[in-house]
Amino acid sequence: MDEPLAVALKFAFLALLFLFVVWVVRSSTRDLVGDEPAEFDPLLDAAEGNAPIDLKRGVRPRLVVVAANQYETGSSFELLGGLMLGRDKPADVIVDDVFASARHARIAPRGPYNFLEDLGSTNGTYLNGSRVDAPERLTPGDKIAIGDTEFRYEE
């Protein structure tokens, strides 16, 4: 280790290595903070009387079976980042119902809430008795019906 330039280069290497690490950490944390979806305004929601829920904090959103041919009543599906309901395979929840389309409806989180969306089904998806046209926000106790099959949303 008698070459000063070699020593300098080694330190340059180490310094750059850590500089890069610091850059990735700082830049990616900003990414985490900055990417909050803009379309949800928690204050507005609170004003409407709906306390915002945080899906990440101890809340277990799930879909409870109320009436279905395929599943036992009372069994439930965890909503791990979203589920598709439909009559056949790619669907996560198989709805064995003559009124169900192959890809019928979908539940997916947007920001801190879960939303129910009809995927252009033939016979429609019903949330608490009314037909779902645009994605609708789910609150605990909501009833989701496809034909004669019914689920309850819980958190």
């Binding site: 080694k10 990616s28 599906f77 965890e78 980042g81 589920l83 969306e117």
Partner: protein
């Protein structure tokens, strides 16, 4: 704020500088002149990075901006360290990187939609099994394990590819059955068990791990595979009891086979007493681990400098497998504790980005695939770094992107391609804000 792709491009700048500093230090230490040929190495590396970046810009515009620079830095550190050992090997490694980038691009083009992987899951699983058994049939033994397949002049280590295939299969299988595993679980003595009909595939995965242990004699890969499987099972079902159950099965199998299979037993002895003179002198003994420990301690806090670690005495190499298994020891010797921590931080950040990708992925298969790929990657780093530093028995797996070895580089670039595909899809959906 910079867009994702511009951030990626910006991130490649410190990567290029770091690699350049490393190369220059190695060259000065080797007292080689910084001539045209050596400069082309640095330039070629930069050009490869830029080509990769441009490809991602075109095909995966919204993918995670940090994964590729992190990969490039690891690859750069690898090629500098390999170059320091043997310039000829570094030239070969550079060729492998070119091939790996081509495979990376091909993966992105072919697997445009991840459902392709989901659909062919059983074919992929069968492929993995064949890949794992190939070396035993055509076999080359490397360090007492059947790891290598020789096809004429080419040789490759199929476990690297099989690792990806197993993750794809398990992710697809669990994406399909996770609800059933949870909703139809059986409780016995207060512990949840999976429904009996679904035990089969789990036993099969366990059997694969055991087969690897006994027939292929590769403890490292067995830990990697089974660990990745348990991570997936936990994420898919949220049942800690399944993980404990699986871990118990693995430990039982390991305990049984370590008694009966000599290879495993000697590895454990070596790990417990690496500095025992008898084991040190024994053929296939602890020589490699002990030499690695000496190299690392020689580095101290700040390292002895590039090209300064004692690698050979009088023409005989004293650090065995310096370019593969022991590359972590050599890097630590030359850049010290500080360099080693830096390297591990890079791996941790890579793993963090992988998990972040899994978190934002919307559908179950993408989520599980991202978790599984990240888990096997993390376990691979743990198995080899833990092995060299005697946290666990040493088994020969490569240090991803850093170790010399074509199959490893190619397989890990496929892994990066899959992660970027998932990330691109998830981040695109997030941006449109829609339920797509």
């Amino acid at each position: 704020m910079l867009s994702a792709r511009n951030r990626e491009l910006f991130g490649l700048l410190p990567v290029a500088l770091t690699v350049a500093a490393g190369f220059a230090a190695v060259l000065i230490a080797a007292e080689a002149e910084v001539n045209d040929l050596t400069l082309t190495y640095g330039l070629a590396f930069l050009v490869l990075c830029l080509l990769g970046h441009i490809f991602i810009r075109l095909r995966l515009p919204n993918a995670d901006p940090y994964i590729f620079p992190l990969t490039a830095l690891l690859a750069g550190i690898g090629i500098v360290t390999v170059y320091r050992i043997d310039p000829e090997l570094a030239r070969e490694q550079a060729q492998w990187f070119v091939l790996a980038l081509v495979v990376f691009a091909a993966t992105v083009v072919v697997v445009r939609d991840l459902s392709v992987l989901e659909r062919y899951r059983y074919t992929i699983a069968a492929g993995a099994f064949v890949l794992l058994l190939l070396p035993r049939l055509t076999g080359g033994i490397v360090n007492g394990a059947y790891l290598q397949v020789n096809l004429g002049p080419l040789s490759f280590q199929p476990t690297e590819l099989a690792k990806l295939a197993v993750v794809v299969f398990v992710a697809a299988y669990l994406a399909e059955t996770r609800e059933i595993l949870v909703t139809q679980e059986r409780r016995f003595l207060g512990v949840s068990f999976p429904p009996p009909g679904y035990f089969g595939p789990m036993i099969a995965i366990w059997a694969v791990a055991m087969v690897m242990l006994v027939f292929i004699r590769d403890l490292g890969s067995a830990v990697m595979f089974f660990g990745g499987f348990l991570a997936l099972l936990y994420v898919a079902t949220g049942r800690l009891s399944y993980v404990v159950l699986g871990l118990g099965m693995f430990v039982l199998g390991f305990a049984f086979f370590s008694e009966t299979v000599g290879h495993v037993q000697s590895r454990v002895d070596i790990w417990q007493h690496p500095l025992d003179p008898a084991l040190y002198d024994m053929a296939g003994g602890s020589y490699q681990i002990a030499q690695g420990m000496f190299t690392m301690s020689d580095g101290g806090v700040l390292g002895s400098g590039f090209g300064q670690s004692l690698l050979s005495v009088g023409g005989t190499q004293i650090l065995p497998a310096a370019q593969t298994d022991s590359i972590y020891a050599l890097f630590t010797g030359e850049t010290g504790l500080v360099g080693a921590i830096g390297l591990l931080l890079i791996y941790l950040l890579f793993i963090q980005r992988g998990m972040k990708t899994a978190i934002i992925a919307r559908d179950a298969f993408s989520k599980l695939l991202a978790v599984g790929l990240t888990a096997v990657f993390a376990l691979q780093v743990f198995v080899i770094v833990g092995g060299v530093t005697t946290v666990i028995p040493l088994t020969g797996v490569t240090l991803p992107f850093v170790s010399y070895g074509g199959s490893s580089v190619v397989a890990n670039f496929i892994l990066v391609a899959l992660l970027l595909i998932i990330s691109n899809k998830a981040r695109s959906e997030e941006m449109t804000g829609g339920v797509v």
